[in-house]
Symmetry: C3
Subunit: 257 residues, 3 copies
């Protein structure tokens, strides 16, 4: 699925589906990409040719810059706000409900919703350059939709650190120590070797056992369809504040080159 | 609020409220200090001039020695026991329900209830000398009231280690690795720089977003008014045992100089 | 209790009960050993002479190789499957419900159910050689019965890493960092010194306080009688698959010397 800016692609080979997303702004996530991502994961989740999924983004820069600032600025009422943030909710819920394991392949930094995507994978392998940040509070919102997925991996203590200290990066080492990354590697080649090796092993593992294991690992999240929707409404309300408008305006003028 | 021994002070400046408590016995916590602390947090929690709270204790020695041994020894029945331990419950619940983030500033060691106070902050910054100990079992009781707050940060595994191995200190490094401290610094100056920097940033962050984030970070603790009260009754019962009387007597004669 | 192959022994001295199990195949766990282990823990749990329990296995090789492959291969229907895996459920539930603290003494590697036993102790002390592996997925099943106990210690993120990456060992250092081990030591002598020192201290601690603390540390697991039984049924079903038959056959022929 191609868009004027960015895409969601996938290919299936030897039981392994590889999903790749791209956006020219450091792989940020506009609504169209989020919709495609959720749909692709849902479709592949029931594709019998597939035994395991690899989720990656394009390029050798950032893994994902989170929500699209342009779209955030365009939100003009609570309904639009809730709808926008529900885009992340749908992707996380698609990943959560998929009966197949999703391996995250992380080549670089992740911010906000991008951290949420990584948290919703079942096993994330990253480079040592893959620092993370939940910067939402700096623009007057919060990591409400991705919060449950991030907390599930790094604990409430890790989520508090990330979300309260919103302007500082946490290193890939921090993210590994707190359970967001399962492995970190010095080079992208080593990341890819490890991703391929695990994907091949899982492609030859018992689909029944993996489906049961996935279910067990996500126990207690059965209410996330509702929860993440409620969370999207919180963000959708806060994003309309003057605080957010001014903060995003400042960010945008600062990063304009 | 001043007492014959010790005090709870606070000052408000540029949206930052700093609460300081002091007791000459290594900042231990008699009932009067606990009552003042809970009241101060409750009052500041609804003070519109305040956007963020810093909780600290006085001096450059221990952060907090926990419950006052003198008062523990004076407890003569279960009602008094429950009332004494409820003092900690009220402080933790005040911190939990406060709509503002509380930054903990930790200059040195913490024991028992002192570890509970730190756990109930939203973001704790400590010196590398700030070792911790849950020594309750050594005097025939247990960290029942502070347990939920400590477990929320360090997990059930960390709580088990601290509470079962009751006579050994865990280092500040341990406490950071397990999520009790968000940051540790070699010098107190560096701790203060980091506390001030974070407090100033939060003083200029969106109060609405922070209130929502605080609520979300404390989800699942809605029953703590009841739970911590039940826990206070357990400690209040155990503290009457001969085991506790003898153990505290021994500690006191040992530490008498 | 002696069996043609292997045993469960115990001795009681100065308030400390030491339970030891042995099986010639790297301390693997056939049904008879599991039954004896659960019974011994239940009996000692109500023995007034005992204040604390040490759980260990024999020899200086592996701590425990998990389920017995011979018995896995002999399972011919779902009822037998559920019954076999319930053996682990009974041991874990006996450990959980025991009012006394159980110290785990770990001299070497642990696999599958063996990792579950360690996770169900209250405080585990291991050598630095004590790597762990949840290899269930490699034979078409999963760590369903031991999952709740392992997740309670290492979090859902740790459990995901262990169970998805089923063919790789995690080091003792990993296990300590994630909360499975409370301490690791370079030598077995140092492990034993630490086990003895903690056991002696607990043997002289307040039984009432310890019983309350044990209860509090295991809060939220009240449904495990049912939960682990349901989990045993999942494993009992999966183990009948051709995938499992072939995988175990391969393992056995590989390890035959």
């Amino acid at each position: 699925m191609h868009h004027p800016e960015g895409y969601v692609n996938h290919e299936i080979e030897h039981g392994i589906a590889t999903i790749e997303f791209f956006h020219p702004s450091s792989n940020s996530l506009p609504a169209a990409i989020l919709t495609d991502l959720a749909k692709t994961i849902n479709d592949i989740g029931i594709d019998n040719r597939v035994n395991v999924i690899v989720l990656r983004s394009a390029g050798d820069g950032a893994f994902c810059a989170g929500a699209s600032f342009d779209e955030l600025m365009a939100i003009s009422n609570e309904a639009e706000g809730k709808k926008f943030f529900s885009g992340f909710a749908h992707v996380i819920n698609a990943m959560r409900k998929c009966h197949k394991f999703i391996i995250g392949r992380v080549q670089g930094k992740a911010v906000g919703g991008g951290v949420g995507l990584i948290a919703a994978t079942d096993y994330a392998i990253a480079t040592t350059a893959s620092a993370i940040k939940l910067s939402e509070l700096a623009v007057g919102i919060g990591p409400f939709v991705v919060g449950p997925a991030v907390e599930r991996k790094v604990g409430v203590s890790g989520l508090a650190q990330l979300s309260i200290d919103a302007t500082n990066w946490r290193s890939a080492e921090w993210a590994k120590r707190h359970g967001l990354y399962s492995e970190i590697h010095d080079t992208l080649q080593s990341v890819d070797d490890s991703v391929n090796s695990l994907a091949e092993r899982l492609a030859h593992s018992s689909p029944q056992a993996m489906a049961q294991l996935k279910k067990v690992l996500w126990h207690g999240t059965e209410n996330w369809d509702t929860l993440l929707s409620e969370r999207a409404a919180i963000s959708g309300h806060l994003v309309l504040s003057d605080f957010t408008r001014n903060a995003i305006q400042k960010f945008k003028s600062k990063s304009a080159k």
